[in-house]
Symmetry: C2
Subunit: 340 residues, 2 copies
DNA sequence: AAAATTTGTGGGAGCGCTCTCAATAATCAG
DNA sequence: CTGATTATTGAGAGCGCTCCCACAAATTTT
C-alpha cells in the first residue's frame, strides 16, 4: 500500500512514469483520456507519492518549520502561542505545506535544531517567533540563507521580513481609554523590555499620556515577565504609588495584577481599574471581566504563512513587513459602565 | 553552504563517499586517523546531510507526526495540549526526531492530512491524541499500517498501543477526599462521555461513592464539554440539586463552575467545595486556589514518544499500554484547611 | 499536400544518500 | 614466513521522484 511507486501506477495504467507524474502534479499536456485512466488507477490503489523522493528530485519539500526560541518560555502558560500555532497549522494545510514544530528549550536543543532547520534541506522556509534581544537562535537563523519570516518585529529588522501587531497603537488605545474615563494615576506593567513587544507597549503608554498633556511618572511603571506571577509581583511593587488604573501589557499579567490588588483589598474597578492586552479567552471568563486590547492572533498565523510562502515562491527580495491592527474590547475592569 | 554533498566532503578529505557516510552515521570500522580528518572537513565546511536523500535511501525519515483530531477542539483554550506538545517536542529532539504537527480542524483538513501522514513515507510513526468515540481520523489512522501510539485510551483498544493516565483512580482520589472531609451531597461535572476520559472520571466518581457506602444520585451528575462554559452551564443545571461539593472532570470546567457558584452568591469553600482535575497553572493562580488532581502531562509526552520510537525500532508487536499515576493537590477550594 | 507547429508521451539522467559486496591493507596464528 | 582472518575502504546499485529532451501524433499553416 504505502510502497506503491509511480512505476507501478504507470504499468497498471499502461503509460510511462512521466505521464503519471504529470497527472499527479496537475501538469497540462496530458490528454483527458489518459488522465482519467491514470486517476482511476491512483484512486483504486490508494497511491500517494513518496515525499522524500519528490523532495530530493524537486529540491522543494513543501514543509516549513516553526521555531519557538528559548527566550519565549511561555508556550503553555499563555494561550498566545498555541493560538498562533493553530492559525499557522491551518494555513499550512490549506497550502499543502507540512508544519514542523521546534520548541527550543535548552542550549542542546538549539544545537540540534538549528542545522536541521536551516541546512538539512528539509524545510523550504521557517517561521520564527520573536523573542528577547540577542537570542542566539534568532540571530543564527537569520544569518542562514533559508527564507524566513519573523512573527513579531525583531530589534534589528534590516533585511528581515516580519509580521507584527501594532503594539504602540494598541497600548495607546488602552491608555487613552483610561484617560478618557478620567483616571489620574495611570500606571503600567510592562512586559519584558528585552522584547520589542514590551518596548512598544510601553511606548504606546508613554505616547498616550504625553499626547494628552500628562506627565509620565516613573514610579507608576513596573516591568514584569509575561506571566501571571510577573503581573502579580509587579503590581505589588506598584501598590505603594497608589495608582487608580493600570494598563498591563498582557492579559495574563493583568490577571496576576488583579490578584495582587484583590489581596490588598482593593475593589475592581471602583478602587483601581485594569486594561489588559491580548484578549485571551480567560479575559471574558473571569469575574470581573477584563477590558483589553484584542489582537488577531489567528490571522497573525495566517499572514505569517502567506508571507513565508510568498518569499519561498517568489524570492527573498524585497523584504515584507505586515502590520496588523488591534481593537479595544470594553468589559468590566476599566469601569467604563460605572463612569458613564 | 546548504548544497554541500557527501561527495564534496569525500573529495576534500581524500576518501570515498562511503567512508564519509560511515563517519557521519557513527559506524564502526573507520580508522581514527581517517575519521578525524573527515570530521575536520565536515566541521570546517559546515556540512549537514540532506534529510530527504537520507530518508529516501534508508527508508527512515526520523520524523514523527502528532495528529490532533477534530473532536479535540480545545487546542488553545485548555493548556493540556500545549503542555503535552511541549513534552513531545522535547523528547523528539532528544532522540533526534523531527516533529510534524497536524491540527485537524475540518473535513478538508482531514482529507489532506491523512494520506500525507500515513502514506507519504514521510513519517516513521504517528502520535494521535485520543478524541471522541468514532472520530474518523482516529479510526482511519489506526487502520493504516504506520506505527501509531494513542495519547489517551481509545474506546476500542485492541491492537492499539496507547498511554493513558489512570483517570478512574484520579477521580476516585478526588471524590474520596471530599467524602473524607464530610461532604454529603457530592456532585460531579463530567466531561464529554463520548471520550474515555469523561467516562473514566465519571466511573471513578461512582466508584468512590459506592465503595464508601454512598448512593449515586443522578441529579448530582451533569455532563459538560471540557471548557469553561461547559463547566459554567453544567453548574447552573446542578445548582437546584443543592450540592455541597463538586468534582469537576477538568480544571477549566471547575473554573467555569466556580464562576456559576459565585454568581449564585455561594461562598467557596464554605457553601460549596470544588475539586478539579489536571492541575493547570491557573489552578494555583486564582483565588481561591483550586484543589485538583495533578496528571503528569509533560511526562505523558515523554512516554508517548518513547513508546512510539520503541514501536518504530523494534516492531509493532506486542502492543504497549502505559498507565500513569496521579496526585491529589490540596489547596483551598476543597475546604480541607477549614475542616481540619 | 508538404511543411511547420502544436500537442501528448516516453526515455534517461540525475537529486544525495545508504548499504551490500568486493577489494585491499593490516594483523595474527601456526 | 605463509596462509588465514579481520579491519578498513571503495565501487555500484538503487531509493522514488522530477524534469529536460527527443520523438510521435495530431493539428495548423502555407
Amino acid at each position: 500500500m504505502a510502497d506503491l511507486t509511480l512505476e507501478d501506477i504507470a504499468k497498471q495504467a499502461g503509460v510511462s512514469r512521466s505521464t503519471v507524474s504529470r497527472v499527479v502534479n496537475n501538469h497540462p499536456n496530458v490528454s483527458d483520456k489518459v488522465r482519467k485512466r491514470v486517476l482511476e488507477v491512483i484512486e483504486s490503489t490508494g497511491y500517494h507519492p513518496n515525499i522524500a523522493a519528490r523532495t530530493l528530485a524537486s529540491q522543494r519539500s513543501m514543509m516549513i518549520g516553526l521555531v519557538v526560541p528559548r527566550s519565549v518560555s511561555s508556550f503553555f502558560t499563555d494561550p498566545y502561542l498555541p493560538h498562533l500555532t493553530q492559525g499557522i497549522a491551518k494555513r499550512c494545510n490549506q497550502h499543502n505545506y507540512t508544519l514542523g514544530l521546534f520548541l527550543v528549550g535548552t542550549k542542546e536543543d538549539e544545537e540540534k535544531i538549528l542545522p536541521r532547520v536551516s541546512r538539512s534541506g528539509l524545510f523550504d522556509g521557517v517561521l520564527v517567533q520573536a523573542g528577547h534581544r540577542g537570542d542566539q537562535v534568532i540571530d543564527r537563523l537569520v544569518q542562514s540563507t533559508i527564507p524566513l519570516v519573523m512573527v513579531g518585529r525583531p530589534f534589528n529588522p534590516e533585511g528581515i521580513s516580519y509580521i507584527d501587531v501594532d503594539n504602540i497603537e494598541g497600548a495607546f488605545k488602552a491608555v487613552d481609554h483610561l484617560i478618557q474615563l478620567g483616571y489620574q494615576r495611570i500606571g503600567t506593567i510592562t512586559g519584558i523590555t528585552k522584547s520589542t513587544v514590551g518596548v512598544d507597549r510601553l511606548e504606546g503608554y508613554r505616547k498616550a499620556l504625553t499626547e494628552r498633556g500628562r506627565v509620565v511618572d516613573d514610579t507608576l511603571v513596573e516591568e514584569g515577565v509575561f506571566t501571571e506571577e510577573g503581573g502579580y509581583h509587579a503590581m505589588q511593587r506598584l501598590l505603594p504609588a497608589k495608582p487608580d488604573a493600570i494598563f498591563a501589557a498582557s492579559d495574563i499579567m493583568a490577571v496576576g495584577a488583579i490578584r495582587a490588588a484583590q489581596e490588598a483589598d482593593l475593589r475592581i474597578p471602583d478602587d483601581i481599574a485594569f486594561v489588559g492586552f491580548d484578549d485571551i479567552p480567560l479575559a471574558n471568563h473571569r469575574y470581573p471581566k477584563l477590558t483589553t486590547i484584542r489582537q488577531p492572533v489567528y490571522q497573525f498565523g495566517f499572514s505569517a504563512v502567506e508571507t513565508l510562502i510568498d518569499l519561498i515562491e517568489n524570492g527573498k527580495e524585497p523584504t515584507r513587513h505586515v502590520m496588523m491592527g488591534t481593537e479595544l474590547i470594553i468589559r468590566d475592569t476599566c469601569g467604563a459602565s460605572r463612569r458613564k
